[in-house]
Symmetry: C2
Subunit: 317 residues, 2 copies
């Protein structure tokens, strides 16, 4: 694709859809110094977006705006075609409705300049399902953000069967360029990665409330005052690497492996085969990257204290 | 129980078991200014505990020690009977083995002064299963901490069928007195609350690795750079209250309810009945306690920024 620009030449981003996620993307791109052209079929788009961006701006200012960043760099386009006319990248954040997304992505594709990558914020559909009606589906990717997109760094990037790999690579590079943390997936997986983890937890929470086993407040406290304090610093795998004491993940799996058979959640565990055990051990060792358990414990402890203080201060702020 | 002391008269805590969790409890009680008498059958208890406490002490010092707190207030008792002889509270943190716990709790119960509450750190067994061999099972409770117990505030407190309610109340009050965040459960539930949530997420993670759908590193990044940044500030329910935009949890469930049928995790969701929907909506409204969605968004944003900065600084610290 010789006509594809490099990610650093993009100066205008088109945002299609002005809900919580679309508005969050608008705020993010504005804060990173881009001109943003937005389009949404609803009549109050202008008001809605102004409100969303204004609400996000104090946070973004405190994080540090890019040079030239301004809320004034936002334009609301009267038509979809005008929104994407000068865009170097398009982010679609329409409601989660498959036929709507299929038609909208085909419409966007029809009017977006060639070689410009179009990403969908979908939290659940695969691009293979969504790209069916587009004329140049090879440039359509999923770029799945987390709420609020202007603060949570994670974006999951994955293509569909008709997506070409240059588009996935380009999107991943562009998102990194605008400050996101990118997980580039090699295969489509329903719910991607983070939502699968989050959704498992959420469904267990709903089961507990449905059965009168725990209250909403107990569930939230269980996370905010419990494992939630570890997770911004160390993900679930690294967390359990430290639960094994000096023996790490290997000891943890060998010792607590049987608890995978316990009815601690309604989700059945996979068989803890030697391959799975070894993959988990190798995975955390690669993540630890030479840091000993003692190093990681010290790092975790500093982080938990800092996180608690940070949350405590903002609560009373 | 007229012979039960009030929680503020306790000056000595017995810690039985010197692994990662037992050692973490020792560090916590020492930092809160208690005399701690520990016992563990292994020959290197003294060394192991000294190492664990020394590793935790910088973090505890930075958090602020209670008046008179000192690592020197730790004694290793030669026998279980000597460990508990003067204790106002006993915390058992032996390995997760049901018959071992049953016998050990009976042994502790036999030599602990009457009226003193004995708590087990078990992460999975119910007190009903564990208290069967004890002579005075009415004072045995679960006090389930999170690793590391000297930093993560959450303790889940629940009794067994033979536990009397005064013991559950006393333990909850004592843990609060020593700075913990307590969830007092009215019924036994396998895995309690936080572990059920965490375990659902963990099992989904293991499934993904087992199937080659995601790497260990991707899973950890998905949490640390994604939803994990929200959870120390707002639990999963409050998080989804904000995912619904200005319509809150009600809009979220009405709008995204169908995604509960999606194959986003291997865990099947409960039926989203009107009762469950209403319970979720009432639950988050009670938690929000008058704060509007805009208030909660502003609070979340401040917290996420502070959490990110805190973690970032400690990583390079």
């Amino acid at each position: 694709m010789s006509d594809v620009s490099t990610v650093d030449t993009v100066d205008t981003v088109a945002c299609v859809g002005a809900g919580v996620i679309g508005g969050g993307w608008v705020a993010h791109f504005l804060a990173r110094g881009y001109r943003v052209v937005a389009w949404d079929p609803s009549p109050d788009t202008d008001d809605k977006l102004s409100r969303l961006v204004a609400a996000a701006w104090p946070a973004l200012t405190s994080l540090g705006l890019a040079e030239g960043a301004s809320m004034d760099n936002l334009t609301i386009a009267p038509t979809l075609a005008e929104a994407v006319a000068n865009a170097g990248f398009v982010q679609e954040s329409a409601p989660e409705d498959l036929s709507l997304k299929q038609k909208l992505l085909a419409d966007i594709d029809a009017v977006t300049p060639p070689g410009v990558v179009i990403a969908s914020s979908t939290s659940g559909y695969s691009m293979t399902e969504m790209q069916v009606a587009a004329s140049t589906p090879e440039r359509l990717v999923v770029g799945h953000p987390f709420n609020p997109p202007y603060l949570i760094p994670l974006v999951e990037v994955v293509g569909g069967e008709l997506t070409e790999s240059w588009a996935v690579e380009w999107a991943a590079e562009f998102y990194r360029h605008v400050g996101k943390s990118v997980i580039k997936m090699d295969q489509e997986l329903p719910g991607f990665i983070a939502n699968r983890l989050q959704e498992a937890l959420w469904r267990e929470a709903l089961h507990m409330v449905a059965n009168g086993e725990a209250t909403v407040d107990q569930i939230d406290t269980a996370i905010t005052d419990g494992p939630g304090l570890r997770w911004p610093a160390q993900g679930p795998c690294l967390t359990f690497h430290l639960a094994g004491g000096e023996g790490g993940m290997a000891h943890m799996l060998d010792h607590f492996g049987p608890s995978l058979k316990s009815p601690w959640t309604r989700l059945e565990a996979p068989e803890l085969t030697k391959d799975l055990r070894d993959a988990m051990v190798a995975g955390v060792e690669s993540e630890a990257d030479g840091r000993t358990i003692a190093d990681l414990v010290a790092e975790r402890d500093r982080a938990i204290i800092a996180v608690q203080r940070a949350v405590e201060e903002t609560r009373h702020g």
